[in-house]
Subunit: 262 residues, 3 copies
């Protein structure tokens, strides 16, 4: 029976080593452990614990929930999936609802591109499954918030005059799908939708669209202090240069709003 | 013999579960299923089916073949490999030849960077293998289209005067490798090569080089309507902000060409 | 005993095929082989061998060590992990120390974003393990180079006046963590730290911060010829458009320094 035993041991060993390998693969595809960081860059581990997790996330100017939304949006906008499982769980732990995660991904399909949303779907699927999130917890595909018709007509006229003749396709879709459909979906509050959009723009260095969307965010209730904290928070997640490119643009928006409110 | 049977069953089960795991890994690394999208973001599934696949791809201003080239170029330029197997197959189904895929990847090594091309090679290798594409279906490493010597001399002089003294290396390579070699390779029509270049620039928000390359594309036969459709199409694949950053630049090119043709 | 033999053979076969699959997965996650390139794009293989490896890396204006640092920085800045194992090994072979790799990753956490650094940690961990790099070969988490107090006070005053009121968080962190801590870490020479920063900015098209950091790099000992070679080298790794966007900015820095030195 020795051979039988040997075979069984071999099978058991192989089985567990396969599982270990799978686990390793999952871990590598998803989250870097603190031990990994310490083994490669002890200083980075120190900055992560003391500064990023120990200080930045606890700063009073922006709630942990909003920091979670901003972080998840930045990761999806930059297509960085290795940390997304961890931060999707952080977001859900901080009170972001599964239906809001679902809307954030849908929103970023338009603002970051379909492939970014598809990558996020692949990650979110596993996170939702592990937390037993069912489809009925997600927002329905239809339903609509009220629209500020005057403001939207103004925007559509302005964009139409500038680009309607040369780019009729995207101009029409911008009105029909984005501003008369996506932005009105009730599953994500307009302020949160703005937060996602502004975070995605800062994360990818796309400052040209920032004045419009930062104004819209502040119209939707984002305070100047919160906007400043969004940039401070994102500096750690999208790099100092992107934050410093966003700062003069944001400052200009702040100053123009201060003048026009007098 | 029961133990033998149990062992064989165990072996068979392990073997199939290994295969299933490999299949899952492949699937996760490559394409997101429609069921995955519906499970995470039902609204996104609806937009994908009704708008992106149901409308955008069928718009008359740009052929399905050209939309495929633009989409593949954008994915490679942004290093987004999860959707690339699907869209390489779409491209081949829409009449893009394997030799043209090969040239697109080679072209983007220079316009998006070597690592993007290497990632694309890893994906294309499997797609080619699954379709039994053999090496003799690819274009040869040499051979040359005719060169517009006057236009190239003009370009080289202009760039040489501006940058030759400070950056002799890249200026020489731009002439020798790019414009007197890569662009003359017969495996991809100049209009398609321009389409790839313009799509990559839009996809990565690099509008500074757009005037030169959009003019070149239109010199190579791209119509204004097609250029407009490229931007509309790419809005979905690279995000609205990149499309909106490209629009004023493209509009300016259109207007200057309209004036100079009078 | 035939069944036993068959089982043992089956086990041995499965075991080796599992290992082969793991090897394939690793290879796909890490490096594209020369055979893969030749099978998909023979012309790209030719350019890689004759031009990139055969010429560019051997150009005299920049050492192989510095080219390695620039390449690794660009890959991390663009979050392109498929080629990173190969180029980390190239860097170590060219004399970059493990402690310097560790510092490069820590530095880029701030200049490219935490998720880029985390992805790099996951790759570097395996490279370090394969070369038996132990934690005591990495640089300590504290210790400090001397600070040019006058220059730093000048920078802090300038940034504080422009952004301190609107963005107190990031302005404080920029002083406390970046310029009075990270940049003074002795594990990476200031010239190398500048090289990493400038490479990351060029790699991601972030030219707005280039004047400050290219000047700092040249203050730290980078020559104009070396800066030109950095851009030529990076053209191949981050694409021609990013190189051409960096060139006018770098040329302007060169000219202003030439004037001010008279």
């Amino acid at each position: 029976m020795k051979l039988f035993t040997a075979l069984l041991v071999a099978l058991a060993f192989m089985s567990s080593s396969i599982q270990a390998n799978e686990a390793n693969t999952m871990a590598r595809q998803t989250t870097v452990s603190r031990a990994d960081i310490a083994a490669v860059a002890p200083a980075l581990d120190k900055y992560t614990q003391e500064r990023l997790l120990g200080e930045v996330w606890k700063r009073p100017g922006l709630s942990a929930r909003d920091r979670s939304i901003v972080t998840v949006a930045a990761l999806i906008a930059r297509n960085q999936m290795i940390e997304l499982p961890y931060y999707l769980n952080v977001a859900l732990d901080n009170g972001v609802k599964p239906s809001e995660i679902s809307e954030i991904i849908t929103h970023l399909a338009f603002y970051s591109g379909w492939p970014n949303a598809m990558s996020a779907v692949a990650v979110a699927k596993d996170v939702f499954a592990a937390r037993n999130v069912s489809t009925d917890q997600l927002s329905p595909t239809s339903g609509s918030l009220p629209l500020d018709e005057a403001a939207e007509a103004d925007r559509a006229t302005r964009v139409g005059q500038q680009f309607g003749a040369a780019f009729p396709g995207i101009v029409q879709y911008t009105t029909d799908i984005l501003f008369r459909d996506l932005w009105l979906r009730p599953g994500l509050a307009p302020k949160d939708r703005s937060l996602v959009t502004v975070a995605a723009l800062i994360a990818t260095g796309q400052v040209a669209q920032m004045p419009y969307h930062l104004n819209r965010a502040m119209d939707n209730g984002l305070t100047q202090e919160q906007a400043g904290e969004v940039i401070t928070h994102l500096a750690f997640y999208v790099g100092w240069p992107n934050a410093f490119s966003a700062m003069p643009v944001a400052k200009d928006v702040f100053e123009k709003r201060a003048k026009s409110s007098h």
